[in-house]
């Protein structure tokens, strides 16, 4: 519960509390509510956790707000990209928000997360700010990677977020290294190494899995199965799209990744398992509304009906909205107000990020080695630039 309070404080602030207070529910805000997950968990070589998830008014409102914020951030990033204010390659997370917020609700910041290039929302979940996110997207100084990484390379060291990695699948072995360090230092924390269904076919994933199992590392491999590896449907690319079983000797759990509470339950379960017994695979059945990246309209390899069907039937935000209304935690208007406020917050962050200067040109040469390259640049074109190792 302390964690929830901290999360609410970090991510937002007063609104859930304000709603609860206004409704005279403040004292009841943390009293447990039990909700059944939408679907049962499917397990491989392990007994699945219970479908009954304990939550609270506070948590549901925080889920709602956090996911609405993430959704809004990604939609705004889409516009900024189209306005050419964001350059480089940009991969959006809208649709998959429940995986991020559910996971965060089950773990703490001593636990590590490492993911691929679809990393904006994970960064936010780890306590990153909208300003840092938008500034990074636009390559500005105030970005979380000083504007040097861009969309695909968000990091947050103090939040245990080991970042956004560019090559499909390459982050998973790194995650096992993080887990080894955690086990060695006996700090009772775990690593969530995230990858997509496309990356699940990379060879290095199996190398990482073997090492993690061999050495009982507290590594949780989270396969965010959004059903398309770039433009190729999972069944065209994978003989067995049952990714939770792909570990063979490693247990796995298939989770409704559109249900934040199911994700929370699974991650809590996985963390306990990993600390005691070593690695486990969590397959999150989820969906991305956008295309793979900004150059993919996302409609050539799947039907519009499929996308709108998921939006209507399984949307993670709508699911929480329904729960909030069903338990009479907030009114429809209050939730709409939350969305409006979130929108404003995003707009403000964008305005602020636009004010942030570009990094100094000398930053081109810093951080290549510990001492940089001992060099300076003299403008884009006219002067020769000499690089000298220190």
């Amino acid at each position: 519960m302390a964690q929830l309070t901290r999360r609410a404080a970090a991510l937002n602030k007063s609104l859930p509390a304000a709603i609860l207070a206004a409704r005279g529910l403040a004292t009841a805000s943390t009293s447990p509510i039990t909700v059944e997950t939408s679907l049962p968990f499917t397990a491989h070589k392990i007994d699945p956790p219970s479908r009954s998830v304990e939550t609270s008014s506070q948590e549901l409102l925080t889920f709602f707000r956090d996911m609405a914020l993430m959704r809004r951030m990604e939609i705004a990033a889409d516009s900024l990209y189209k306005a050419k204010l964001i350059r480089g390659f940009c991969h959006l997370y809208d649709g998959q928000e429940a995986v991020c917020v559910g996971m965060e609700a089950a773990i703490n910041r001593k636990d590590c997360i490492i993911t691929a290039y679809r990393d904006h929302c994970i960064f936010l979940g780890r306590g990153g700010t909208l300003l840092e996110a938008f500034a990074e997207l636009m390559g500005r100084k105030d970005g979380c990677s000083k504007g040097k990484g861009g969309s695909m390379h968000f990091y947050k060291k103090e939040g245990g977020f080991y970042g956004g990695h560019g090559i499909v699948g390459a982050q998973v072995p790194l995650g096992c290294g993080l887990a080894f360090a955690q086990k060695y230092s006996k700090d009772e924390s775990v690593t969530f190494a995230m990858y997509g269904d496309g990356a699940a076919n990379q060879g290095q994933l199996f190398e990482a899995l073997n090492m993690a199992a061999l050495w009982d590392l507290p590594a949780i491999l989270v396969c965010e199965n959004n059903h398309y590896g770039m433009g190729t449907a999972e069944w065209r690319a994978a003989k067995s799209p049952a990714y939770y079983k792909r570990g063979d000797y490693v247990p796995g759990l298939k989770v409704d990744g559109m249900d934040a509470l199911a994700v929370k339950q699974a991650c809590k379960f996985a963390k306990e398992h990993a600390l005691k017994n070593g690695p486990i695979i969590l397959e999150m059945d989820t969906y991305r509304y956008h295309g793979h990246s900004m150059s993919d309209p996302g409609s050539t390899y799947r039907t519009r009906d499929e996308i709108s069907g998921v939006r209507q039937e399984r949307d993670p935000i709508e699911r929480i909205r329904k729960l909030v209304l069903a338990h009479d935690i907030a009114t429809e208007k209050e939730l709409k107000d939350t969305e409006k406020e979130v929108r404003k917050e995003v707009d403000e962050a964008i305005a602020q990020a636009k004010e942030s200067p570009m990094p100094d040109p000398s930053e081109l040469f810093t951080n290549v080695y510990v001492k940089g390259l001992g060099t300076e640049s003299f403008g884009a074109d006219r002067k020769e630039v000499r690089t000298v190792l220190p």
Partner: protein
């Protein structure tokens, strides 16, 4: 005949296309006397034509890679699956090491395996297969086996805003590996002829396509089947004061610098290397012996880039003829940057400055 169309290099919208002097030393497989039918197409369409011809002329040719069944992210494989079927043109999972290993096996059975790696930046998981398996197959089996039918196509280089993992130029890594060829075309016409040569060459080839030019470079390209020779450089602009050597997309930048230098009275000779290994030392040597000066330019970082190899070879061969140190105008020794791409790139003005300081040395 077909020569007059050999130089349509464009890169950035406001650069005009260059048609001026007739090209030299362009040898094609087009031998018939009647002028060939040509059509104005861009680079990805030229690659697409070459792939159509490769599949059409050899029933044992296959095209595969990530998303190629739908035409690929750069549209190079559009229409192939429809015409030749899903058994010969197919999507692979996202697993570069697997794709190349699979391609080597396919080629070892006497097939033409044309594998696509979606971006050159993604080729590194396959590096082991290329370096240790493909390159040495023939040698270590005493010529019992080979994977000569293997061609790995991959887009390389800057696009203006690609960032760290969609912009790199990894050619030099592969130039360190005897047993494979590395080929880079500069234009649509070159791309088609060189790709067909690469596919039909009895050695494994890494074929790097300048992705910046996919849509920007438009040129008259013969519609029929033709091949351009590998390991033959081409003097695409004659001059007497300095030799410039480059390949791929960089040539258009260098050509602009040559034109600006000309306005200042400096006559530049521009050489397109086309094949990086095994490379045409004789053409470069002859040119440097004529001009007495050399400038090499590429997008990859300067240290350990292929420019270093050219520079060392020319110093060995033309030492007494050189009037100035060899100039290298290349990418900087940093990771390929996102917002700092304009600083990183070997731009026209950087080249022009180096031309002037080399000539005045």
């Amino acid at each position: 005949m077909a020569c007059t169309t050999g130089r349509g290099i464009t890169r950035i919208g406001n650069f005009s296309r260059i048609w001026s002097s007739p090209c030299r030393g362009l040898q094609t497989a087009v031998h018939d006397q009647s002028p060939p039918q040509t059509k104005s197409v861009n680079l990805f369409s030229a690659v697409n034509q070459a792939l159509h011809i490769a599949l059409d002329t050899d029933p044992r040719a296959y095209v595969f890679g990530e998303d190629v069944g739908f035409g690929g992210v750069f549209r190079c494989t559009t229409g192939l699956a429809d015409q030749f079927g899903k058994r010969r043109v197919f999507n692979t999972p996202l697993c570069e090491q697997g794709i190349v290993g699979f391609a080597i096996g396919l080629a070892a059975m006497g097939n033409r395996a044309i594998a696509e790696i979606q971006f050159a930046d993604y080729i590194f998981p396959a590096f082991d297969q290329i370096v240790n398996e493909a390159a040495k197959f023939r040698y270590r089996s005493g010529n019992q086996f080979n994977c000569g039918g293997l061609t790995i196509r991959t887009p390389y280089g800057a696009v203006g805003h690609g960032g760290h993992y969609h912009s790199q130029s990894p050619e030099a890594f592969f130039c360190h590996v005897p047993g494979i060829k590395v080929v880079i075309p500069r234009s649509p016409r070159q791309a088609k002829g060189l790709l067909l040569s690469s596919i039909r060459d009895p050695n494994p080839v890494v074929f790097l396509e300048p992705k910046w030019l996919y849509r920007l470079a438009v040129e008259e390209v013969p519609e029929q089947d033709y091949m351009l020779p590998l390991s033959e450089a081409e003097v695409i602009r004659e001059g007497s004061d300095i030799t410039l050597v480059g390949w791929g997309a960089q040539l258009s930048v260098m050509e602009q610098a040559c034109m600006d230098a000309e306005k200042e009275g400096i006559s530049c000779e521009l050489v397109d290397l086309k094949t990086l290994i095994p490379w045409d030392k004789e053409t470069v040597e002859a040119s440097v012996n004529k001009t007495g000066r050399l400038l090499v330019s590429h997008e990859a970082p300067v240290t350990g880039g292929f420019g270093a190899e050219i520079s060392a070879s020319v110093v060995e061969r033309c030492f007494t003829r050189l009037e100035a140190p060899v100039a290298r105008v290349c990418g900087l020794d940093t990771p390929f940057p996102l917002v700092f791409e304009p600083f990183y790139m070997p731009t026209k003005n950087k080249i022009l400055d180096a031309i002037k300081s080399t000539v005045k040395y």
